[in-house]
């Protein structure tokens, strides 16, 4: 299903040690572990933002994806509509390990705050000064149909001028991000078939 009024303005894929924008590989790294990979990406993009190092893995993944797409984006009313399968389970397990003994005495607020998937959108909002709509959905797998309906409604009702949509999943060391900006003008038609194709192109 295609929406003629809107386009895919730009898209970013992060998986398998590579970060690409609009199909072009911007960064690749053979680090086996995600923390080393994403730290190398942070340096590669010359990001100067010390809060990055306090973030959990999911937020780091979403943050770098948003950096790639929003760095030169001037649209203030950009809504964030993200989704994944594992929610914040990576950090949930850390909090669970901390509370499993000593009656929870080792619980840390710095960990606990990241036990919500939408925190990564808070991080992006702070970084890019977006006072905009945020919604985080959980699906078994990337669902361009429902995300597109939602983005369409935000755009058609004027609640947002652009929408940063997509999939950002971190679970048991595996990472997978596909983010894209929907706007009036852009590279490609805003089409769920197109989105599925771009997502599958690793």
């Amino acid at each position: 299903m295609s929406t003629p009024d809107y386009h895919i303005k730009s898209y970013c894929r992060i998986s398998n040690g590579k970060i690409s924008k609009n199909g072009e590989v911007l960064f690749s790294d053979d680090s086996e572990e995600f923390p080393a990979f994403i730290k190398a990406a942070y340096k590669h993009f010359e990001t100067d933002y010390s809060k990055f190092f306090k973030m959990d893995n999911l937020s780091k993944l979403a943050f770098i994806g948003a950096e790639v797409l929003l760095k030169d984006n001037n649209e203030e009313n950009t809504a964030l509509v993200l989704s994944n399968s594992a929610s914040s389970l990576d950090t949930d397990r850390k909090h669970q390990n901390a509370i499993s003994d000593q009656s929870g005495a080792y619980a840390s607020p710095a960990v606990f705050v990241y036990t919500l998937p939408n925190i990564c959108m808070g991080e992006i909002s702070i970084r890019h000064k977006l006072y905009s709509e945020n919604s985080f959905f959980i699906f078994a797998e990337f669902n361009p149909h429902l995300l597109s309906d939602y983005a369409n409604d935000l755009l058609e009702t004027g609640q947002a001028n652009e929408v940063l949509c997509g999939w950002v999943d971190y679970d048991k060391g595996k990472y997978d991000a596909f983010l894209y900006v929907i706007a009036k003008k852009g590279l490609l038609p805003f089409d769920t078939g197109e989105l599925t194709k771009l997502y599958r192109t690793k």
Binding site: L80, S85, A86, S87, L89, D92, R93, H95, Q96, I99, S100, S103, G104, A107, S108, P109, F112, V113, T115, L116, P117, N118, I119, M121, G122, E123, S125, I126, H128, K129, L130, Y131, S132, E133, N134, S135, F136, F137, I138, F139, A140, N143, L146, D149, Y150, N152, D153, L154, T157, Q159
Partner: protein, 382 residues
């Protein structure tokens, strides 16, 4: 824009297993909070409102389950079964399902849980609800911190507006668990006494649990006496801090103004505010600033946290359902626990159950990640 309504509803709570039991207790200013001594959750006793497991099991067995379900699944299924039955709707391909939760079955991460850890995936939880009733469409799980419950109504509205569905059932719930309590305790956010939203003596939150559900529909043939129309909604991020509310109430202020614009009303048109009011120092102060900026300082306002505690991903839906009954009965419910104003800006806190002709109310919520949601509802039957 087409009219979209809230209709059949249910609340499973410490008060009972229907909305009426909760509404009647609130009308009589009876709190559902009590002292809980459970060292598996916290070493020290804490105030909470819990759904009694015996009653839950009995209600759940009536649904004739064919396999084992977690406590949260039982709560959600009991609530939704009731709303589905009342609605009499057939589950066609035009009927959607939204599950609103922050942590879902997070208790299965505990080594003592009899359930597989996979049950902690929120899509697994959603699938259990979807297949139990035989929904034709894939469940949509929304997990957006403490605004989830009210944001889920906006989400339902948008999917109906996009013609994906004609009706959406929204079900919301979160558990009182060691995971949650130890987390809030690490923030030193828990009150040792029943919470006192907006009060000078407030000392933090209580966490409570409910399951609740509602039918969101575009069809005027499926309404109930307490039905309301969604006339405006908006969500705006603070873009300020992931765990601390904005000092200027930025996101909440913007959400309220944007929702009023969408509803095409001024502040004076709002008869009542069902606010978030967690009773932490910073949250309540932030709300007072935002409501003053939006010129709502004289509008009667309550927080329902003194009745249920903070019910996390359910709270926004729970409090909206109570608001529906508040409008329908032309009654403002007391903000339980409040004694003396303890925020820096004026607010018109409802101190006792009061009769007032009302037709429009504003529901707000704010949460970690800097998220805020405002939604405005108008009574259908006068």
């Amino acid at each position: 824009m087409n009219n979209i309504y809230l209709s059949h509803n249910n609340i499973v709570s410490a008060y009972g297993f229907d909305s009426a039991s909760a509404v009647d207790s609130i009308k009589n200013e009876v709190s559902g909070l009590s002292l809980v001594d459970d060292s598996k959750i916290l070493p020290n006793p804490f105030y909470s409102s819990l759904i009694p497991q015996d009653n839950l099991s009995k209600a759940f067995q009536k649904l004739n389950p064919q396999e084992d379900y977690t406590r949260l699944e039982q709560i959600l299924l009991v609530s939704l079964a009731n709303t589905l039955k009342e609605s009499g709707l057939e589950l066609t391909d035009k009927v959607g399902l939204i599950v609103s939760t922050t942590k879902g079955n997070i208790d299965v991460l505990d080594a003592d849980s009899p359930f597989d850890e996979n049950r902690a995936y929120l899509s697994e939880l959603g699938k259990k609800i979807e297949t139990f009733f035989g929904f034709k469409n894939e469940v949509i799980v929304l997990s957006n911190a403490c605004v989830s419950g009210v944001l889920a109504l906006a989400v339902a509205k948008r999917f109906i507006h996009q013609k994906r569905y004609d009706h959406v059932f929204v079900v919301a719930g979160d558990l009182v668990s060691q995971f949650i309590l130890t987390g809030f305790n690490s923030f030193q956010a828990l009150s040792e006494l029943p919470c006192r939203p907006y009060c000078k003596t407030r000392a933090g939150i209580n966490i409570g649990e409910v399951g609740c559900s509602v039918l969101v529909t575009k069809d005027e043939d499926h309404l109930v006496n307490e039905s309301v129309r969604i006339i405006g909604e908006a969500s705006c991020n603070d873009a300020n801090h992931i765990s601390g509310p904005s000092r200027t109430g930025e996101g909440l202020y913007r959400s309220v103004v944007s929702a009023m614009n969408q509803a095409n009303i001024e502040a004076e048109a709002i008869d009542y505010i069902s606010a978030h009011g967690t009773a932490t120092m910073f949250n309540d102060e932030m709300e007072a600033i935002a409501f003053n900026r939006a010129n709502l300082q004289n509008t009667p306002l309550n927080s329902l946290k003194g009745y249920f505690g903070h019910t996390l991903g359910a709270s926004g839906l729970l409090e909206t359902i109570i608001g529906m009954y508040s409008l329908h009965s032309n009654t403002l419910f007391a903000s339980l626990g409040f004694q003396e104003l303890g925020v820096s800006q004026p607010l018109n806190i409802i101190t006792e159950t009061t009769a007032k002709e009302s037709s429009i109310f504003l529901k707000t919520a704010s949460g970690f990640g800097g998220c805020n949601t405002a939604a405005i509802f108008q009574k259908v039957n006068s």
